[in-house]
């Protein structure tokens, strides 16, 4: 709303592709959670990941910012390979420091908020930009206050997370992620831990963000949100992409049996 005028139209490295995942595999011990995920997310697009629990959608999301290491395949964000460097046809593992630098451009919002309980709302939002020398303290404070105002919490700067409702906490978490000025936002079931009457305020904040052209990947069970805001819907089950396409088409006329069965239960 404030300073994102031209960002959706800005051309990115690979013809407007923000995320490109190829044949991503991930196992936890003997359990293969991701069995070859291919996915492309364009710049400025809202991509919703849908699927039953255990289908691997959260794991896939965590692979995108390297919170989970993938076993095979490639993930590129804005053209950069995540977690590895490719040189002369060989892959080199990145140092922690370089992984951290990559993550700065990727915001993440968690199901359980994960706000820092020992810091005020304002400190939560300005901690990373100040610590990582992205901005001077005064600048970071101003930006943080602006972001909190934008998520409707301009009057809660001095509050501690424990004094806020779940919906308010999640909105602070969104502001905290935005403070790093990311080019991509990942949402891991952002409304699943909320009381039903608080879901709306968080979804509204996310809609607002989508309208401003932020590239978003959202793992969600909110079919309404996917239909209204999503540009692309991906249905996953058993570690594979079962079906994908325009959200309104997939939701109203699913092609695959498993998608039909899932939607019948959820809708």
């Amino acid at each position: 709303m404030t300073d994102t005028t031209a960002s959706p139209e800005t051309p990115t490295a690979e013809s407007g592709l923000m995320v490109r995942a190829e044949q991503v595999h991930k196992s936890f011990g003997p359990l293969e959670v991701l069995k070859g995920i291919d996915l492309e997310v364009r710049s400025g697009e809202v991509c919703c990941l849908l699927g039953p629990s255990g289908s691997g959608k959260s794991t896939f999301l965590r692979c995108i910012n390297h919170l989970e290491k993938i076993d095979a395949g490639r993930i590129r964000v804005d053209g950069d390979l995540i977690g590895y460097r490719e040189r002369g046809g060989k892959l080199y593992e990145m140092r922690d420091r370089d992984v951290a630098a990559q993550r700065r451009a990727i915001g993440m919002v968690f199901q359980r908020f994960n706000l820092f309980p020992h810091m005020t709302v304002l400190q939560n939002v300005m901690e990373a930009p100040v610590l990582l020398r992205q901005a001077k303290k005064a600048q970071a404070r101003e930006h943080a206050a602006q972001l909190l105002d934008r998520v409707g919490l301009g009057d809660k700067l001095g509050a501690y997370p424990g004094q806020l409702s779940g919906g308010q906490q999640q909105r602070v978490a969104i502001a905290r992620a935005l403070a790093m000025r990311p080019k991509l936002m990942l949402f891991d079931e952002p409304t699943s831990a909320l009381d039903p009457e608080l879901v709306g305020e968080v979804l509204d904040t996310m809609k607002d963000l989508a309208r401003d052209g932020m590239t978003m990947i959202v793992v969600t069970h909110e079919i309404g949100f996917a239909r209204e805001v999503g540009d692309h819907l991906v249905f996953m089950d058993g570690g594979v992409v079962v079906e994908q396409g325009d959200p309104r088409e997939v939701i109203s006329a699913p092609q695959h049996e498993r998608t039909k069965a899932f939607l019948a239960k959820v809708l």
Partner: protein, 323 residues
């Protein structure tokens, strides 16, 4: 609903006969008799030599010893906490070498009794007359190249000078404390929710930054109470260095007065009283420290928040019904 209750007359407050507790009164009587017997003994038994004890226990050498004890307590706890944090972080490091070193350290210093350690450190002067740091096997390497007086010592000092009783005692207590503190800090760090680290990682913070800014401050709440206990235990363990021997120490000084005057018992009582006093001071400090670090987490504040929440809620619902 509120209109309903306010419409009815408020019933009379309950006036009931409270439950009697005869057992408590019997207990008080028994304790009173025992206390009286104890006081009687304190006053009438001449072996206590109260006036002699009071005369002696505030003399300059004793006060000097007291200062030594407090200094020993502070220095050994500073070493213990500082090194303990480092070892705890090493224990949790992804680097297997650091993990191994930390494990061996904790294993050794937890296995050896502090008294044995104190005496051992006091006698380290036997091993070396001088402590020197430099290239190991420097003479042998020199001989290999035909240099017979080659020495690669960076610096050195006389072991007897450095390992005086006080430093030896301080090291013995501090290094041993570090092993226990490491376990306490490790438990504290592990008590912090994994999601905190993940959130900080997702923001692009490094491991060190996450530890310093996010995890350790939250771990403090868990670390502080046992650290208070460790400090009190350490105060009492400073008396062990009397066997190093360290002369600038409370128990050593009191014992010395006892043997010189052939009146050891009143001096043991004096030691008891001094340690009681010091421990009580520490207990007060611990109380305030714990209160400070439970801010924003403690049961009391959470209950208060809940009350505030309830008040706000009932306020909003009544205003809602009013419309």
């Amino acid at each position: 609903m509120s209109a309903d209750t306010s419409g009815r007359a408020r019933p009379e407050p309950i006036k009931a006969v409270p439950v009697r507790h005869p057992g408590r009164w019997a207990g008080v009587a028994v304790i009173a008799v025992l206390v009286a017997m104890f006081v009687h003994m304190l006053v009438t038994n001449s072996a206590f030599q109260w006036s002699f004890m009071v005369d002696e226990m505030f003399r300059p050498p004793i006060i000097e010893g007291l200062r030594g004890t407090v200094l020993l307590l502070i220095t050994s706890m500073v070493i213990g906490i500082g090194l303990g944090i480092v070892i705890a972080i090493m224990r949790l490091s992804p680097n297997p070498v650091l993990r191994g070193v930390a494990w061996v350290y904790t294993w050794f210093f937890r296995a050896v009794p502090r008294l044995v350690l104190a005496i051992l450190f006091g006698n380290l002067g036997i091993l070396w007359s001088r402590l020197e740091f430099g290239l190991p096997f420097d003479r042998q390497i020199g001989a290999l190249f035909g240099l017979h007086d080659f020495e690669a010592r960076l610096f050195g000092f006389s072991a007897v000078d450095i390992l005086t009783g006080f430093v030896a005692g301080m090291l013995a207590l501090g290094l041993s404390e570090a092993a226990y503190m490491a376990e306490i800090v490790r438990a504290g760090i592990q008590s912090v929710d994994e999601g905190q680290t993940e959130a900080a990682q997702a923001l692009g913070m490094s491991r060190a930054q996450i530890l310093r800014r996010i995890v350790l401050p939250q771990a403090m709440r868990v670390i502080i109470p046992p650290t208070g206990n460790e400090t009190i235990a350490m105060l009492k363990d400073t008396s062990l260095v009397a066997f190093v021997p360290v002369s600038m120490e409370l128990f050593f000084q009191l014992k010395a007065v006892g043997s010189r005057t052939f009146q050891p018992f009143p001096m043991y009582v004096a030691a008891t009283l001094w340690y009681l006093l010091l421990t009580s001071v520490l207990l007060v400090g611990q109380y305030y420290l714990e209160r400070h670090y439970s801010k924003g987490f403690g049961r009391s504040t959470r209950a208060r928040q809940r009350l505030r929440g309830l008040a706000a809620e009932s306020g909003s619902t009544t205003s809602g019904t009013a419309q």
